[in-house]
Subunit: 417 residues, 2 copies
Amino acid sequence: MRTSLIFSSIDKWLLQRVHDATGGAQIRLALNNGNGFSPPRAAPVASVLICDRRTLARLFFDPEVGFGDAYAEGHIQVEGNLVALLEAAHLSMSSAQASSWYSRLASHWLERAQANTLRGSRKNIHHHYDLTTDFYKLWLDPQLVYTCAYFPSPSVTLEEAQLAKLDHVCRKLQLQPGETVVEAGCGWGALGLYMAKHYGVSVKAFNISREQILFARQRAKEEGLSDRVEFIEDDYRNISGRFDVFVSVGMLEHVGADHYAELGSVIHRSLGKSGRGLLHFIGRNYQRSFSAWARKRIFPGSYLPALREVMRIFEPWDFSVLDVENLRLHYAKTLEHWLDRFERSACRVSEMFDSRFVRTWRLYLSGALAGFRVGTLQLFQIVFAGPDCQRIPWTRAHLYTDEQSAKQESQWIHATS
Amino acid sequence: MRTSLIFSSIDKWLLQRVHDATGGAQIRLALNNGNGFSPPRAAPVASVLICDRRTLARLFFDPEVGFGDAYAEGHIQVEGNLVALLEAAHLSMSSAQASSWYSRLASHWLERAQANTLRGSRKNIHHHYDLTTDFYKLWLDPQLVYTCAYFPSPSVTLEEAQLAKLDHVCRKLQLQPGETVVEAGCGWGALGLYMAKHYGVSVKAFNISREQILFARQRAKEEGLSDRVEFIEDDYRNISGRFDVFVSVGMLEHVGADHYAELGSVIHRSLGKSGRGLLHFIGRNYQRSFSAWARKRIFPGSYLPALREVMRIFEPWDFSVLDVENLRLHYAKTLEHWLDRFERSACRVSEMFDSRFVRTWRLYLSGALAGFRVGTLQLFQIVFAGPDCQRIPWTRAHLYTDEQSAKQESQWIHATS
């Protein structure tokens, strides 16, 4: 009796500490033996059921990684809406106390282990993007665009929105027939192929994911674009040659803040003083570390920068920032589509991998959706130009004119027919 | 004979040093006694005629301030196009060696003497903006908008472009009838009055230029807007109260980099977490000091920041940057209009002040035009929002729709009739 009282007190104390570590989120924590902790002021948005004391101890030592791993393993169950729970956690953790020495040490160790050397990057990228393409086909759009879509209105389909994004990027770059484009981090090749097909440019596209490069080459061949789009399995640091345009959609997150100056050099080497370019990436309102769990299980070596940090790429070369657009709400919408499709394919994913994988990816997609909804994640598109660039648009109206929309619609019909 | 040879050698040596200080600009330097220095590789775009050795010595010790003052006094004449000369100097000076110890010391002393304390700012602003309004009426548009205009197309008039700018700002802020706006640095009141008249908001507008505030109040009275636009003669640091929107067009240049964190606090105090705002300012591609001559003679206490520096305003409060637009080319166009009108009024200006004033202002307007043309100056409009802001536009299409344009045109007719 005495012992159980002591244990119960320890449970409650630990639950309170774990709740403190969330910054006082509006969520309920409950242990399987009936002990629990509810937020003091308002009704919880969802409940976290912790299956045993060992899991509770993991949460105590490293709340974020502990939660992610225990959720994936099924040692934590969520009662209520997972996204709502994660929104509450994102919001409160922004104002939480500094994380424990253990979390900080583990996070630091992870950063070193996943450093983005040429070899390290290859390993990091392989972890995520070389999962079989069949998996991504289950829940991405048919073009396999694995970055934030652009929804001209919230009701358009994901397919339309991804094509609209490709076109939005092309318009921002004011691509002209015959120009040369280098793409750093090209995914399965959708943007490179789109640019060549609809804007008449020739493209060299770099990527260190072998699965993606092989898929992209095959697509180029099928679409008769192999002479105009070259897919190269290599690191952005090995880009050589001169181009009119540099574009990178969704790679900066994998570059790492230590390498921004180096990326700037690569861009300058590629464009000289007269070129122009676009970077599209997930960023932050201010400098903060990226989720240790996400780095451990989803995106090794990743970092999401504040705008201030990204300026390191442009400043040494006198590049002008011409346009920054924040598409945060579009990424939330994109993730709603992805998560919905993922859930509808959960059984197939479980067969391909296992249930732990399904739960890991559910948590990742839900966490990203929560982040974009509440604003702990932002999506920036930056257009920039060298000091001698002659192709600076007078206004941004060309991105939104009806004539362009009409052209775009016919392109959609063409691209999807 | 011997003495004259020695002097001639000294002249040539000094001319060469002064030319070096320009970073090897494509300009010819000539002394009144016939000694001269021409750029080695290509024909000069213009020539600088230096009237005496004393002026040459001033140029040697402090090329920038020396040039500006000697030009104003008529001890330097420019043969050829002044703007072209300044463009060449802007371009080459970006890559020039570090300035002399004398220039650096003088620049540092100036910075301290013109510090933007509450009292210092009042003095700094008084120097420029309290010149009689009649002077500005000679060469600004009828609304007296003394910031970069927005030209929907390069051929619209300055009057139309300034109205288009006011509307562009209002659209970016998505103003709704009944909302409250605080404006920091309101000039002669054009934006505040426009917002109240065309968007139905109520405005508190701050400015420490007495001349401008008195003029703005009078205009509000004449237009029957005194109940909706309050013009307050006070520093932005003394803004109090809560507002839906914060806007500042052309004030950040006078704030000084040391005060960005303070400005951020003022904005946060005014908006809380749910407001939104816009900053419009002249900036740079990277951090660099602002012309000592311009600070001495034109804009005491001014500083033009790189985007990186401006992030200090937003980051501490979790403000999201939603949109950055670079309107550099529009400022070049604006300055073409201003310079043209100024030259046509030069005789009147000379009567109002004196010929030194005319030459000083000619140099300032020409230098700014050159800077925006070659890109040593940039113009940024930043839209931002607090973490709980509910009025984030889905896309930026509303800035460019025809319906809005039609509305805008009728507004122009209304405003100018």
